[in-house]
């Protein structure tokens, strides 16, 4: 693969990647562990003719992002759980107004102020819409700096194709990890999309347009929801992404995303080397959840183990996908000096399930 290899914190990789793929306006407010994204974008965006705009709160961030999106240009934000929660009214607004943007929730321990160490505590917040109303946003969960880089062009494509916010959720451990990533040639993917049919650039370009997410008649609210539902059905059908490993003849299937998904790969190679039949599925899109990955599982599977950096959130979606076909077990941890399950704990749990 040709390109430039950079050794960066993954938060900085996120900033580099989004800017190299076409984000020109980044609205943000400092919050651990997402702050390095804005630190870096503040430095590099002017080189690309863009700007990092530091706002006074995440409320203002989200609304400035919405204003930017109204022009058809690509904006982004980066935050963590408390900031993400504050933004939700406007995420709902952008979903309703069909405004594209890129968002990052670098997840830390919640609820409340919680803790600044990494977690996967915002799975529900991210995948259930998050704000008021019947909507979803596309949720991507890369497990490494390289995957952030690899998936970013697709994130831009998803944002414009479906005219929707695209939300990255990355646990704070992965976000703060420093590792190498190979960046392909810089390309402004956002420029490839024609936004003239919907953007609010002034009547020099079109007849009067206005962004309405409310209703002047009751039918408008219904029509908006019908329109969104059609779009979401299309996304569920076409945009599920996951990675799977060693499923054939597997007896215990491990399901995990982010850092635990990455560890699940290690677990599989370690246990396979011992002749133990363990495989894994790592969801990359959390919404749409990769239900298709669970459709034609090998009959050898006896049980499923879901591992998360929380007390059990994605496990609900795994249960829904399996619809009672297999027993589902859970291993999770959140907070502390080691805010996640260790590989040894995952191995011990998988061994106990193999022996069942």
């Amino acid at each position: 693969m040709s390109g430039e290899t950079l050794f960066l914190k993954n938060s900085e990789t996120f900033a580099e990647s989004m800017v190299r793929c076409g984000v020109r306006y980044h609205f943000a407010y400092p919050i651990t562990p997402a702050t390095e994204v804005m630190n870096r974008s503040a430095v590099i965006l002017p080189e690309y003719g863009g700007r990092m705009v530091q706002m006074e709160s995440e409320l203002a961030v989200a609304n400035a992002l919405a204003g930017c999106a109204c022009t058809g240009k690509l904006g982004a934000t980066s935050t963590s759980g408390p900031g993400m929660a504050l933004m939700q009214e406007t995420v709902s607004f952008m979903a309703a107004g069909e405004l594209p943007c890129i968002m990052l929730d670098a997840m830390r321990v919640g609820p409340g102020d919680g803790d600044i160490v990494g977690a996967q505590s915002d799975y529900y917040l991210a995948t259930r819409g998050g704000g008021h109303g019947d909507y979803r946003v596309i949720v991507l969960a890369p497990d490494s700096g390289q995957e952030i880089v690899d998936i970013m062009p697709d994130a831009v494509r998803l944002a414009y194709t479906y005219r929707t916010p695209v939300l990255f959720v990355i646990d704070g451990v992965t976000v703060q990890m420093t590792e190498s990533a190979v960046f392909p040639e810089t390309n402004n993917y956002a420029e490839e999309y024609d936004t003239s049919s919907w953007s609010f650039t002034g009547t020099k370009d079109h007849d009067k347009r206005f962004l309405l997410t409310g209703s002047y008649s009751h039918t408008q609210g219904e029509e908006m929801n019908d329109r969104l539902r059609k779009k979401y059905t299309q996304i569920v059908t076409q945009e599920q992404r996951w990675e799977e490993e060693a499923l054939e003849d597997t007896e215990v299937l491990v399901v995990a995303f982010g850092i635990h998904g990455r560890m699940a790969r290690d677990l599989v190679s370690r246990m396979r080397a011992q002749g133990k039949k363990v495989g894994c599925i790592r969801p990359i899109t959390l919404w749409p959840f990769p239900d298709n990955a669970f459709e034609d599982l090998p009959t050898s599977i006896k049980s499923v183990l879901v591992v998360e950096m929380n007390h059990g959130q994605m496990v609900d979606d795994v249960r829904l996908a399996l619809n009672g076909r297999l027993p589902v077990h859970f291993l999770g941890k959140t907070g502390g000096d080691m805010p996640m399950c260790t590989l040894a704990e995952m191995e011990a749990k998988a061994n106990s399930l193999l022996e069942d």
Partner: protein
């Protein structure tokens, strides 16, 4: 012969039926804004960011692009828009509830950024659309549906003078309080709205005008009475003035 169309040009949409109540001050302010846009020839690059409340209707009467923002957030939306599209003219049109209550923080920080956008706060001293509740600008003693015995400043705090909060901000280049209480006031308000837009067109900085208007429905008054109340009582506390004119 002069007709309305020749007077107002393309900006004011004369075909659209008004949603404002009879006598509502919004009608006058909306016309003044449309006249300003027309006079500067900026209709095709003007974008209105409206709030939630009766002020949200304003864009329906203008042939310009518009964004109906979430309650109180118009200044932040305008900041984001202007960042991405500085060549366009962006203004917010909000009520005193939208801007002075839920959206005060957005206004203060947008003003302090000094970005060339224009914010208009149409102050009718109450929440009009929801049925006449107390707003931060309701007068001492004013009867509203949530202050049936009149606003008690000990209990509810004092009527908020919003432009006074922006006076010391260096990025604010034009700052005024106007009213539509009588013809003379309307003519004065028209001049200030012109200046506020001119401030943005020239890229000088942030511009803001509070415009005191009556809401006959919310005040539960006849139209004439409501204008008298506006002139006598509202303007006694909210004194019209140009706080800042740094246009040179």
């Amino acid at each position: 012969m002069k007709n309305l169309e020749s007077l107002y040009g393309d900006t004011l949409n004369l075909d659209k039926l008004f949603s404002y109540c009879p006598g509502c001050g919004h009608g006058i302010v909306t016309r003044l804004v449309a006249e300003t846009i027309e006079s500067f020839g900026i209709r095709e690059r003007s974008v209105s960011v409206v709030g939630i409340g009766c002020g949200g209707f304003s864009h329906h009467y203008m042939e310009i692009d518009a964004i109906e923002a979430m309650h109180g957030r118009s200044p932040s939306v305008a900041v984001g828009y202007k960042t991405a599209m500085p060549e366009n003219i962006v203004f917010t049109y909000q009520g005193d509830g939208d801007m002075g209550a839920i959206g005060l923080s957005d206004l203060l920080h947008a003003a302090n950024k000094g970005m060339p956008i224009t914010c208009l706060m149409i102050n009718n001293s109450l929440f009009g659309m929801t049925g006449g509740q107390m707003s931060p600008t309701s007068l001492d003693g004013q009867v509203t549906t949530t202050t049936p015995n009149g606003r008690d400043v000990v209990q509810h705090g004092f009527p908020l003078r919003v432009p006074e909060l922006l006076r010391d901000m260096a990025g604010v280049k034009f700052l005024a309080r106007e009213s539509v209480a009588d013809m003379k006031s309307v003519r004065h308000a028209a001049k200030s709205i012109q200046k506020a837009f001119d401030c943005q067109i020239k890229g000088l900085g942030f511009s803001f005008i509070e415009i005191i208007v009556p809401c006959p429905t919310g005040l539960n008054m006849k139209v004439k009475e409501s204008y008298e109340w506006c002139a006598d009582q509202a303007l006694e506390y909210f004194k019209p003035q140009i706080f800042k004119d740094e246009m040179e």
